[in-house]
Symmetry: C2
Subunit: 446 residues, 2 copies
């Protein structure tokens, strides 16, 4: 990633870097499947009209059109554009296929998304997201909000990224509190509180006053946002602010359930953080954000929440709760910081060398027996100089080279890191479990 | 796939269908890695100028542009478009990253590609390809052509699609033969022979005559194209046609090596077929096509060949040999014909039921112990009626339901297919290996 991409915003990984990304994606897939999430993929394009329904995003969308079509079809309601997230296409997929799906429907989806950022922004214009959502038909028990926090905590723990904090809040709690304060436009307050980390408390207080809040209301809102506890003690702290409202009570109860359950299964990692607001309007209850401890500048690597209506069709609504991991941003940072490094750039564990060109078929036989037992194996194509064959392995980080025995003699295998060379039989020899596949872990200067 | 996609040419799979596709992709990945291929991904877009270098494809390319850009930038040399294959972007990747790669570089790449087909064509406009290539720096031993045939034969065998034929020819053989016949524009003859399967021998003979061939030359070219052998006996049959040329000899030797090696490792599946021409100009030696026996109408599911210059930069050239599998076309057909079916639509093997809502945390503990041992497990969110909980499992094909024991009593697990119910302990119980993951195999009416 230190290399500059030839097209700004469209970085490409080298093979060893891709090993790291694959490790991250495989780990996420494994955890999601262990929790019963089924995989789907949606097409890369949606009608422009569908993508622009939320209004504010139109600046960042890539339209597509057949090159030979005479005129750009921007105003055509059937015009197509690349999706900018996985939520909009998933909502469409649920409505279109509702008759074939079983609700609650739990799915994970790992795909590229595109945003038409200006090149000079230095932002990714193509990146990979990994989303999980659980969607109900008409209703969805609150407990899935609790479950999703556990799933994501487990997924992130499995990635061995170091310490992280899954920060959870509940829109009902915040909005109920503002309502209890006598504020009418609670959404506007949420939007201002959302800026807290960026612009600081004083600036937010000023903005809130601009929204018509009294300085006492603004102070109360900021006091609420300052509450952050690793356990359910946030409830007492909120009550100490002396505000009451039925929606606030509901929010306190829901958030308590999440924190309570998480404190046993992921102690210290899932915290109540009443400053979390999530700018987007469609969240209606639980909201999640996640920071890597020591990498707070990276922003939230995994965010989401509860929405009462992911999609609707006629009288039907599909409420859901979901989380999205920004894989590319996370992986590119981990690679750049040497926090995750692959032990080699190829899957290969063994290189079968050739002393004579005509041994090639025999070497393929050895390779076949090794592969049958799951050992990734390459065969040299020609009997080059011995040093060149060793270099072939060494440069790629292939740990073992195999020598075919001369007539009557046993084959031998050499660990090129230690120089140790022993007799070996292709039907039984096994490398150390650590050497079987490229290992991914912290780099030396991480 | 029987469902009609809401956007023509952009089909989407249901979860159970995606299980089939994932099985195919996982199998390909496993085989490619066992043979030492490293994975990379390239960005989805390329400069239009880059994509159109080959000229004839411009009708099928999707250009992209930011929606808010005032005018479509088709004539802009920096305009971007979605890639229509994985070869063009791979060639660019090799040139751009040559300094970081180790040659011969063997990579596999599994990604979506897009073609701007007209909707009424009923063709896929978005589909997944799986490519493998081995690329050299300046030179690449011929033996890799042999190896690739073995890798692909093993990959297709591992997919259990039924019988297939990897049909191999060599451009040097055909072109040398035409040259030996006294034909000058050998490429034109190849293009006509390429139409043989589509339009028949008579029509091809007529076209060849239109290209200036004598009727005897045309008959000889057609005789060559009729040769098809499962072993190296094609050599004798070619010689019997009485044509000689040094390039022909080279082609006979190369093709013999491929067929010879394949006859031991994939007997009967890799055949010499001298009608294979591959329309594209860049192939220079071995060419491959693959048909599923009994599904010949599907066309070639996997094609490729040797190219002396995948890419070049200054004096450097990068020769390569590669094959591409049309995964979407293959998978959609297998699904439509019930040839591959998933045993269930979710990864879940066990559903932990709830008798009382307050047992949820305990149920999560059971689920955690099962997951720790690789058993995919879901927990009911609420203590619904027993029948409803069983239905939840049954509809999704989840084979086992788990019952938490009342105080002092053991937990129990029930196979909902047989009704068998036994005492079980979450730390030790295991399902049959067959039930651990969704199985993929032929459907009942396949």
């Amino acid at each position: 990633m230190a290399r500059k991409p030839s097209l700004t915003g469209f970085p490409e990984l080298l093979p060893a870097e891709r090993v790291v990304e694959q490790h991250v994606l495989d780990t996420l897939r494994r955890v999601f499947e262990l929790h019963g999430f089924a995989n789907i993929e949606t097409r890369a394009v949606e009608p422009v009209a569908q993508l622009l329904r939320k209004g504010e995003i139109d600046k960042e969308v890539y339209g597509i059109s057949r090159l030979q079509d005479e005129k750009a079809a921007k105003d055509d309601p059937n015009a197509l554009a690349l999706h900018f997230d996985l939520t909009v296409p998933f909502a469409r997929y649920v409505v279109e296929n509702a008759g074939w799906l079983h609700f609650p429907f739990r799915r994970y989806q790992i795909q590229k998304v595109w945003r038409g950022e200006r090149p000079q922004d230095g932002r990714f214009r193509e990146f990979t997201q990994a989303d999980i959502d659980i969607v109900g038909d008409g209703a969805l028990p609150f407990r899935y909000d609790v479950e999703l926090a556990l799933v994501i905590a487990e997924a992130l723990s499995s990635l061995n990224l170091g310490d992280f904090r899954l920060r959870v809040n509940n829109r009902k709690l915040s909005e109920g509190f503002y309502r209890g304060l006598g504020v009418e436009d609670t959404a506007a307050v949420l939007r201002e509180i959302d800026k807290l980390e960026k612009i600081g408390a004083d600036a937010v207080a000023e903005n809130l006053s601009g929204q018509g809040l009294t300085s006492q209301q603004a102070q109360q809102a900021l006091s609420l946002a300052s509450i952050r506890t690793p356990d359910t003690s946030f409830v007492e702290q909120v009550r100490a602010l002396g505000v009451s409202d039925p929606l606030l009570e509901e929010g306190l109860d829901e958030l308590s359930q999440v924190i309570e359950a998480a404190s046993t299964s992921a102690p210290g990692r899932v915290i109540a953080d009443l400053s979390i607001a999530r700018g987007l309007d469609y969240y209606t209850g639980t909201v999640y954000e996640t920071v890597l401890v020591g990498h707070e500048k990276l922003g939230s690597i995994c965010s989401g929440g509860r929405y009462e209506s992911l999609a609707s069709k006629g009288k039907k609504t599909y409420p859901g709760v979901g989380l999205s991991i920004g894989v590319s941003r996370l992986v590119s940072r981990l690679i750049a910081e040497n926090s995750l490094v692959a032990s080699r750039e190829v899957p290969t564990a063994v290189l079968v060398t050739l002393t004579h060109d005509e041994d090639w078929a025999r070497a393929q036989g050895v390779a076949r027996r090794l592969r049958e037992r799951g050992i990734c194996t390459e065969v040299m194509a020609t009997a080059e100089k011995f040093g060149k064959q060793i270099k072939h392995a060494d440069r790629r980080g292939i740990p073992f080279v195999w020598f075919l025995g001369a007539e009557g003699a046993s084959d031998q295998v050499k660990d090129i890191r230690t120089g140790e060379q022993v007799d070996a039989e292709a039907g039984t020899w096994v490398p150390d479990a650590d050497d079987l596949r490229p290992a991914v872990g912290p780099g030396e200067n991480a």
